[in-house]
Every structure is written in C-alpha cells, then in structure tokens.
C-alpha cells in the first residue's frame, strides 16, 4: 500500500489537441497532494492520466512516464484494468451504483478482483471500509438499502469506502467536496487526513482553504494562454506555496486576484 508516484515529461492529448504539457512531479507516499489552478487548466485531465482513465475517451492519449514505485503505468505490458484496480478514484459527483445496495456498492470492487470469497470475509471488509470512511454508524442498519437513498455527503463517503475496500495503492479525488455542504465537506476533509496514514492521496480542489487544510504538497497548474495547453507552474510544500510562492501567477491565484 501507499506507493510513491513519479511523473516524467507527461504530455496529455485529446486527439490532436495537447491539453497538458510537460508535467514532471514526484508524489510522496502517505501524503496528500493538492492540485489547484483555474478552470480548464487540465487538473482533471492530469489526475485521470494517473490511473489510465484518460485513455477511455475516444482518441485521447498520453505520452511520457508515470512511475508508481518504479513501475511505469504506461509500459506496453501493463494492463490498464489492473492499474485502475490499484489506484482508486473518487469523482466530483457522488456516484454510488443506483442499482446496488450499500453493501454491494462497497463490495463491488472486491467482487471484481477476487471472484471467490467467503461471506464472512466479505462482511469484514465491507465493515472495515465503511468504518474507515466514517460511515459505518450511519448505515450499519440499512446495508441492504440502495446507496442512492443516502445524503450527498454520505454518498460521497460511500464512494470513498468503495474505493478503499480494494486497498488501492493510491487514492485520486477530483473535487470530492464540490457538491457538498460545509458539514459534509468537513467530514470528508477529516477523513482524508485519516486516510493519509495508509494511502497516497492526490486531490483536485478549487477551494484554497481546503488545499491549505488537508494537503502536504500543493501543485499549481495554469494555462500558458488562451488556447494553449495547461502546465505545472510550481509544486512545493503547501505551507511554502501558500506563504511564499516562487511564481507570481501562483501568488495571484492563491490570493484570489485571478481565476
């Protein structure tokens, strides 16, 4: 669990369009890295290239290297399906499977990976994952009810439980709180801080306070100009980025004079 990620010279394309240019960065295990930057600068695109979700879009492709503990995710012999089962993802809008119960939602990933498993073992994993996601007490009496019957914040924690049930190496989150109220947001932020002990977490956020609160490292992405690809402007210790950024654009963005 909790692997390091080294990205080298990553270029990400939609067809012929270069969307993100020349990103290189290192992400430490058991840390939270926040990706910030104005809308359209390629944060989601970059995040989705870290678990090979990007290439599911027709004609989308990636050039460069993403090393996870030294293994290149884009090496020819690597199975993208295996990559996605090792690197979990939480989306902007909570998306528990509406045709499945709460229990089945959490168990979905495990059932994919390990076909045969004793019920007691599965029960244990489901409970453990829901506890880790701080959702167990709220749903333990209605595990057989549909996941869509929960509140938005609960649904998002259910999605986190679903993602961590398979014990991935890395957890990617794309604006996980943007559809949630402040209390639910608070709960998810607390959860992120707890999960850091076991996982490498990368989170996209538009909320500067959130980035400052939960992350250890912050990466600022920006567009070079209108119609130009997005790029990584600077990455560093969150405290440093927020107090003394090296780049003028970063300072403008963080202080709200931009974007």
């Amino acid at each position: 669990m909790a692997k390091r990620i080294d990205v080298a010279d990553l270029n990400i394309y939609y067809g012929e369009t270069l969307a993100v240019q020349d990103v290189s960065m290192s992400i430490e295990p058991r840390s939270v890295t926040a990706l910030i930057g104005p809308s359209g600068c390629g944060k989601s695109t970059f995040l989705r290239s870290l678990n090979r979700m990007h290439e599911l879009i027709p004609k989308a492709r990636v050039a460069g290297k993403v090393m996870v503990d030294g293994q290149d995710l884009y090496a020819p012999d690597v199975d993208p399906v295996a990559v996605r089962s090792q690197i979990g993802m939480v989306f902007q809008r909570p998306n528990p499977f509406p045709t499945m119960s709460i229990y089945d939602n959490v168990a979905a990933g495990i059932k994919l990976n390990a076909k045969r498993m004793r019920t007691s073992e599965l029960d244990e994993i489901v409970e453990r994952s829901l506890r880790q996601a701080n959702l167990w007490d709220e749903v333990k009496d209605r595990l057989d009810k549909p996941g869509t019957g929960l509140s938005g914040g609960q649904q998002q924690r259910l999605c986190i439980a679903r993602a961590i049930a398979v014990r991935p190496d890395v957890l990617l989150m794309d604006e996980p709180c943007s559809a949630l109220d402040p209390i639910s947001t608070q709960k998810i932020e607390d959860l992120i801080t707890e999960l850091k002990a076991d996982y490498t977490i990368v989170i996209v956020t538009h909320n500067m306070q959130q980035a400052a609160r939960v992350s250890d490292t912050t990466a600022f992405f920006n567009l070079r100009g209108i119609g130009q690809p997005g790029q990584l402007v600077e990455i560093g210790d969150t405290a440093t980025i927020f107090s003394a950024p090296a780049n003028k654009a970063t300072e403008d963005y963080i202080s709200g004079r931009f974007g």
């Binding site: 678990n51 979700m53 599911l56 027709p58 399906v81 295996a82 996605r84 089962s85 090792q86 979990g88 993802m89 989306f91 809008r93 998306n95 528990p96 499977f97 509406p98 045709t99 499945m100 979905a108 990933g109 994919l112 990976n113 869509t148 999605c159 679903r162 993602a163 398979v166």
Partner: protein, 301 residues
C-alpha cells in the same frame, strides 16, 4: 383562453376521445359478433366440438410461435444493441443502427416470401439433423418436414421481424446509461464487459423487458408471414420440426375468413377477440414496465 387555444384544446381532446371510442368500438364489435359462436351448439361450430376446442389449438400455436420467436430475438437484440452502443466503432455503430431501423420498415409479406423461398428450404437438412441427434427431446420428435415449413422456421421468421423493434428500444436505453456510473465501474478496475454487467445491463433491464413485450405483441398478431410459411394440420403439438403444426389465430383468420359463412364467421371473430385480449394485456404490461423505468431515480442524478 384565446380562441386558437380553445380550438386546439378541443381538437386534441377530441382526437384522444376518438382513439378510445375506436378501441371501444372494435372491442364491442368483436364481442357482439363472437357471441353467436359462443352460444351456438357445439356441432355447428367448425370442427364440431365447440368454440373452445376450436380456438385453443390456435391460441396454443399463436403463443408457441410468438414465445419461441421472442426467445430467439430478445437475446440477439440485446447483443446487437450492446454491440452498437458499446463495442462498434462510432461510424459502424451509426450505420448499423440505421440498418436495424430500416429492417423494421420492411413489410411482413416480404419476410413471408423470404421465409418460404429461402429459409424453409435452407433448414430442411438442419431439421433432419435435429431429428437424428436430438430426436429424444419432444421439441424435435419429428418426423422432419421435407419442405421446411415448420414451427421452427415460422418462429425464426417472426424473430427476424421483431428483432428491429426490440433492438431499437434496448439500444436507446443502453445509450442513456449515465457515463458517471460507467466510469465508476471502470475506475474500480472493471473490464469493459464487467462494466457492462455492473451498469449498462441493470440500467437497461426494464427496457429489455418492456421491449421484449412490445416484440411479443407484434409476434402474436403477425399474420402474413406465418400464413405463408407454416404448414398446418391443426391440433396441439410442441413438435417444432414436423409438417403437422397448430396454426395461429391471425393466420387462420386471414386464410379462412374469405370462404366462411354463418357461424364459422362468428367463430373466427371469437378467435380474433381472444387475440385482441392477449395482445392488449401484453402491450399493457409492456407500458407498465417501461413507465416504471421513468421513475428510476438513477437516470437523473
């Protein structure tokens, strides 16, 4: 209300009422005309054993051919819809969808011609093979038909006829699977097929059921194709490959009506009433299932 609005409201209400009136009129006509056959002495009804004995084999033949057609068409339609929506390259998918829609517009007499001229002769050897190798199954008890005008071929023709409508409805439903859930499955490490099993099929389930029932409704009422293809002897039989088959209600009416007089006409109309009732129920069930899908909260989130 403005005059224009009033006229329009009146017109549309009128059309709605008209449809209901026509439906009620047809039902009333069927009941009134069928009644003499129901109360007639058994020996005056064609076959000489009463209206129930006359209609039952026809109803059986109707249900058997339609059910068999559905059994063949529904899985194929789901597979084609899946291929079009989730496997085929975009341009091919577009073309295929178009072809499927075109198939729905082919008149049934053309399918009948194809059945009798091409499919029936082509299946003679297959019928013989089924008889020799699987003859112990009552469905293939034989003796195999030498013309191929069997229940199996009639069902195959019906299956081809109902395939487009089922495919079209199911394809629409599959297309509406929210990308959000497909991505959730893929991000968990599902393969393409696993993703389909986790999201596309459960989402499309009620559409599949509803579409199948629409197809069943069409197969139940199909006349010309069956009348042309099926070699009929009367009686009830589940033997699919022989030349003695029960006919269907619709085909019997089409074939016998011109030469019938007196109580025989009323008997055929009674059979028509039964068919009317069966298709009505099937279509209503289809509507219920399809409508239930609208309330499905998942689609909008």
């Amino acid at each position: 209300m403005r005059t224009g609005d009033q006229i329009f409201a009146g017109l549309s209400t009128g059309s709605g009422v008209l449809i209901l009136a026509i439906l009620a009129g047809v039902a009333a006509f069927l009941v009134v005309e069928a009644w003499p056959a129901v109360v007639a002495p058994a020996d005056e009804v064609p076959g000489g054993a009463g209206v129930t004995v006359y209609i039952w084999p026809l109803l059986f033949g109707t249900l058997l051919s339609a059910a068999l057609a559905l059994l063949i068409a529904a899985p194929l339609a789901v597979a084609i819809a899946l291929f079009i929506t989730h496997y085929a390259p975009r341009r091919l998918a577009h073309g295929l969808g178009y072809v499927v829609d075109l198939l729905a517009a082919v008149p049934s007499i053309v399918y009948g011609l194809w059945g009798i001229a091409v499919l029936a002769p082509a299946t003679v050897d297959a019928g013989a093979w089924l008889y020799e190798n699987l003859g112990w199954i009552p469905l293939f008890a034989g003796p195999p038909s030498s013309t191929g005008r069997t229940m199996l071929v009639a069902a195959l023709v019906l299956a081809v006829m109902v395939l487009p409508i089922i495919t079209a409805v199911v394809r629409e439903a599959f297309l509406q699977t929210p990308r959000l859930y497909e991505e959730a499955a893929l991000a968990l490490g599902a393969t393409h097929w696993e993703m389909i099993k986790m999201t596309v099929l459960p989402f499309g389930r009620s559409a599949i059921i509803g579409a199948s029932m629409l197809g069943l409704g069409r197969a139940l009422g199909e006349t010309m194709a069956v009348a042309m293809v099926l070699s009929v002897s009367g009686g009830v039989s589940i033997n699919l490959i022989s030349r003695s088959n029960p006919s269907t209600i619709a085909a019997t009416i089409a074939l016998d009506f011109p030469e019938s007089t007196g109580i025989a006409v009323n008997t055929l109309i009674a059979a028509g009433l039964v068919l009317f009732a069966v298709t009505f129920v099937v279509n209503m069930l289809a509507r219920v299932v399809i409508n239930r899908r609208r309330d499905f909260s998942g689609a909008d989130r």
